[in-house]
């Protein structure tokens, strides 16, 4: 068995093959970035799209966590040109009142994630986002595959 590293809400974790990074997502977005040559990868689990002055935790927000994740991967020896991303999560509450902007937080997280990855020039190879299901994610650093378990069904994305 490979080591399973749990990535909590508002956390970034990086490791190397054959570790597995695991997280559970509701409206949060999980960003899995992989260097297919060096077999180094990392995951960010972001709660909200953009950072606020009052909260000093950069791992919580897409706009600060994603650059931080990439920086950490490069520091551990990954090469920018080998990196690609898979993103998942961003589910919405099934029904929410007209006055509940928070109901759209999943969509806003997905949007901001795309923007940040584009800014950094990292291609998104897989998007398994939106809907109303919770998701359990396993990101395998031996080959960069991502397993998504939602509503009792599993899907595996191999593209790296």
């Amino acid at each position: 068995m490979s080591e399973i590293i749990t990535v909590g809400v508002a956390q970034i974790r990086c490791s190397t093959s054959p570790a597995v990074l695991r997280t559970i997502l509701g409206s949060c977005v999980g960003i899995c970035i992989y260097d297919r040559v060096k077999k180094i990868g990392g995951m960010a689990h972001v709660l909200l799209p953009t950072s606020q002055k009052t909260n000093p935790n950069p791992e919580k927000y897409a706009d600060t966590a994603i650059p931080l994740l990439v920086k950490e991967l490069l520091r551990q020896g990954a090469k920018k040109e080998n990196l690609s991303a898979k993103i998942t999560g961003g589910a919405s509450m099934f029904k929410f009142g007209a006055n509940v902007l928070l109901g759209q937080i999943g969509d806003r997280n997905i949007e901001q994630t795309r923007t940040e990855l584009e800014k950094l020039g990292i291609a998104i190879l897989v998007e398994e986002v939106g809907g109303n299901m919770g998701r359990v994610i396993d990101f395998y650093l031996e080959d960069g595959r991502m397993k998504v378990k939602a509503g009792g069904q599993e899907k595996i994305y191999y593209k790296v």
């Binding site: 809400v9 997502l25 709660l47 589910a91 099934f94 029904k95 007209a98 109901g103």
Partner: protein, 286 residues
């Protein structure tokens, strides 16, 4: 509707022995603290009778979550230092944990998931009550938050059998998961939860929280605020992925609850933003 499942659930809820038990002391203490004729000495005596629980209760009294700094070595001291209501919450935590910490298969919840979600909802509910200057509700929504989805423990086996049908109905009729539970199985987990709390002889407000946390608009008016608070905290914790299971986010956040608690958009987002901090806070009482 699956008549076979409905019959099996009927058989469980009409036979009190088949509903999960709770150490007697918890029900007693919860009712004693609401009784003005009961002295704190009597409460302390009642708790101290149960030696096995007392050790765990004292451990929680000294956890970072509850501690006021001074080391507590007896139930008497605990009541003096932390207050009667806080000690009641702790007794309940110790009593309910063995039941709530188990895996809940039909909902795809691993060991500890339901318990963690209960603690997170309880803590967030308490924070909401305090921030809205409803301190008198703080301990009620804390207890209610821990226990709000206790019915899942009983109904999970049937959900496992009926899961595909429930989910198909959610999507075909655009109804929330708990509504589809009722359509398919004749009952939803809130109704089962209410039966469990009846068996435990818990106060009415806690029964209302368990019964109506998914439909706060139908709660009795006098419990509406407490129910609405737990409704909102539950939705936000699930969105944060805490205790999210096979029913996913097939739930609702109701406008009437937001209005009742008087939360602004900013406050709602602020609560969501606090999910990681709440998880950190409850770590030492898990």
């Amino acid at each position: 509707m699956d008549q076979n499942i409905k019959k099996q659930i009927d058989a469980i809820i009409t036979n009190i022995d088949r509903l999960p038990p709770l150490p007697e002391v918890a029900g007693k203490v919860i009712n004693m603290v609401n009784d003005p004729d009961v002295s704190f000495k009597q409460v302390a005596q009642e708790i101290s009778k149960n030696q096995a629980m007392t050790a765990n209760i004292l451990k929680l009294c000294n956890s970072a979550f509850f501690s006021k700094g001074k080391e507590i070595t007896s139930i008497d001291r605990a009541i003096v230092t932390l207050g009667l209501k806080e000690v009641k919450d702790i007794v309940f935590l110790v009593a309910a944990k063995p039941l709530m910490v188990k895996p809940v298969i039909g909902y795809d919840l691993a060991q500890g998931d339901l318990w963690t979600q209960g603690l997170a909802v309880a803590t967030m509910s308490r924070d909401i009550a305090i921030s809205k200057k409803k301190k008198e509700l703080a301990d009620v929504v804390f207890t209610g938050g821990i226990i709000h989805n206790v019915g899942k423990v009983v109904i999970a086996l049937f959900v496992q059998q009926a899961f595909r049908d429930i989910l198909a109905l959610v999507q075909a009729q655009n109804i929330a998961f708990h509504q589809a539970e009722k359509e398919i199985m004749g009952y939803n987990h809130q109704e089962i939860g209410e039966k469990i709390l009846e068996k435990w002889n818990f106060p009415q407000v806690l029964r209302s929280i368990v019964r109506y946390y998914q439909e706060p608009g139908n709660a009795p008016a006098e419990h509406s605020l407490a129910v609405s608070i737990v409704h909102i905290a539950n939705a936000i914790c699930l969105m944060g992925g805490i205790g999210i299971g096979s029913d996913g986010l097939f739930h609702e956040i109701r406008d009437e609850a937001i209005k009742k608690v008087a939360l602004s958009q900013q406050e709602l987002e602020g609560l969501f933003s606090r999910v990681p901090e709440i998880l950190k806070q409850i770590r030492d009482i898990q």
